[in-house]
Amino acid sequence: MDAGNRRKNSSIKKFITLLLTTIFWIGLTQSGAADELITYRLKWLFNTSVVGDLFADSHHLFTQEGLTVTIKEGGPERDAIRELELGRAQFGVASADQVIRALSKGAEVVVIAQFFQVNPLQWMYRPDKIKINRLADLKGQVLGVTFGGNDETILRSLLAKAGLTEADVKLFSVRYDYTPFIQKIVNFWPVYRNTQAVFLGEKLRGSGDVFAFFNPADYGVRFVANSLVTSKEMIESRPQMVHKFTAALLRGWQAAMDPVNANQAIETLRRYDKDSSVETLQQELAITRSLVQPDAAIPIGFIDTASWKQTEQIMVTQGLVSTPVHVEKVLREIPQQ
């Protein structure tokens, strides 16, 4: 019986020793690791709209700050704000409407940089079919719109501004397929100016079509696009890390937007987007530059509070959020060094 107890005690001792050794080893290896592991969830797939993010990663700007960052593609079914709350990501990209909706539902999200000063979501149209000199010219036209999407909110706001109702126009439901626009069934089509519009433009030019762009900002609707977000908890508990990440990311954007680094930026994009030609990417990059930093006096990442307030106001007016969320309270631009 004693021998049995001794064997049992010996086994327990061995187990505890093994456990302590394992814990010690994990602690040792973790404390020895200089880099912090971060997941960064984008809003959409890898394309020119995220060139700065990709540039920062591929040029080791995060590593220089002691951060190990995994950039994950987004998509229609992905939502960075949900992932922040679930702890699956520490940073993400979200559109202003996502941020405002999330705030209205009690999510604790903070905006730390705004990537696009001009919303790339615009409309491509055929000036030989539709003459647009003022908003009222939209009356009687067939207008492409993604129901439920940002463009629907923007378009409804434009119509309201023009004193038009839905009965004054014909709204055409837009999908990923451009056939109705190419076949001229619809001559006013929502596009991302710096990506979709480039290859669609090439196609139209090939068939001798004339096209122009309708930018809602020209008519006073400044709906904010993609921004860098994190959780309130993250910015309060780990401000240094947030600072390091934002600084590295914005350095990536500044470098990618600098015409001097255009070739490097294209090279970076080519690693992720093998289908687009260099010429297409060059065009996309040039347009992205004009949307990210339209004015050299405005730093990249600048948060345009007035536009955020207007975005919220539009959403409240259209009943997309029931009450004001005072979005300006969560706009916390990280000062750049």
Binding site: L86, R101, A107, S173
Partner: protein, 250 residues
């Protein structure tokens, strides 16, 4: 009785699912943006019920037509493919190959050819639904009911129509189960089609809700889809039971 059971079984499943979601929500202290609270779901339900109810009916109507088409095609193909001839084998290979392509890859082509209207929804619903029906029909029709068929064969009275009737009657329970099961696939197929390429139906509404990051709307839509499908499946089971009773009574 069957109908009643289908409905309360669905309600139990939905309640369990919802409870699990709410347990996760409160367990992890998640906001209403990630998982909506009961009040939010209730409000959304009362606001959207009418619109979503008619959307689901719209979807169901397309699903029923799609299912009828797919059953009809599956029966034709199954009957033609039941014989161990070259043509029978060719039909089977063609049917299997068509099914090998994922619907999400084919859907955009259908969308370009047929637009985003009723035909696209119908075709995609039928395509998703028909294969399991076909497999069962081929399985049933290729299996002789030796005891009965032997008599007709030796007396020289066997015709292909009689062969099909014998095999269908002897396997009516299996056929009913397959048809009831295929209703789910027809509904799922229609919803997928609406999600990808339509301007109507509950799949389209779910897509819009997804754009708006509104999980409460999606939960309401799921409830209505489930309850409607349960009623429809219950009715199909009842029909199968009545058909069998009527055939047996002759």
């Amino acid at each position: 009785m069957l109908l009643h059971r289908r409905i309360y079984q669905f309600l139990i499943i939905y309640a369990i699912g919802l409870t699990c979601l709410l347990l996760i929500k409160y367990g992890l202290n998640l906001s209403d943006y990630v998982i909506p609270g009961p009040v939010d779901i209730w409000h959304t339900g009362t606001e959207e019920f009418e619109r979503y109810f008619f959307d689901v009916l719209n979807t169901l109507a397309v699903a029923v037509v799609g299912q009828v088409i797919s059953i009809f095609i599956a029966l034709l193909v199954g009957i033609a493919g039941r014989q161990a001839t070259w043509f029978g084998s060719f039909i089977k290979v063609a049917a299997y190959n068509v099914q090998a392509y994922p619907i999400v890859a084919i859907a955009p082509i259908i969308f370009i050819l047929l637009g985003d209207g009723l035909l696209t929804r119908l075709l995609i619903a039928a395509m998703i639904c028909y294969f399991p029906v076909l497999l069962s029909v081929i399985g049933i029709m290729a299996e002789p009911v030796v005891d009965i068929e032997h008599f007709y064969r030796v007396t020289g009275r066997m015709r292909w129509q009689l062969e099909v009737k014998i095999r269908a009657f002897e396997n009516l329970n299996k056929l009913t189960t397959v048809i009831v099961g295929s209703a789910t696939l027809a509904m799922a197929g229609t919803i997928v089609a609406e999600f990808i390429a339509a301007n109507a139906g509950i799949g389209y509404s779910i897509r819009v809700a997804l754009y708006q990051s509104n999980l409460a709307k999606i939960l309401v839509a799921l409830f209505l889809i489930g309850i409607t499908l349960s009623v429809y499946q219950g009715l199909l089971e009842l029909t199968g039971y009545l058909v069998k009773k009527s055939w047996a009574g002759r």
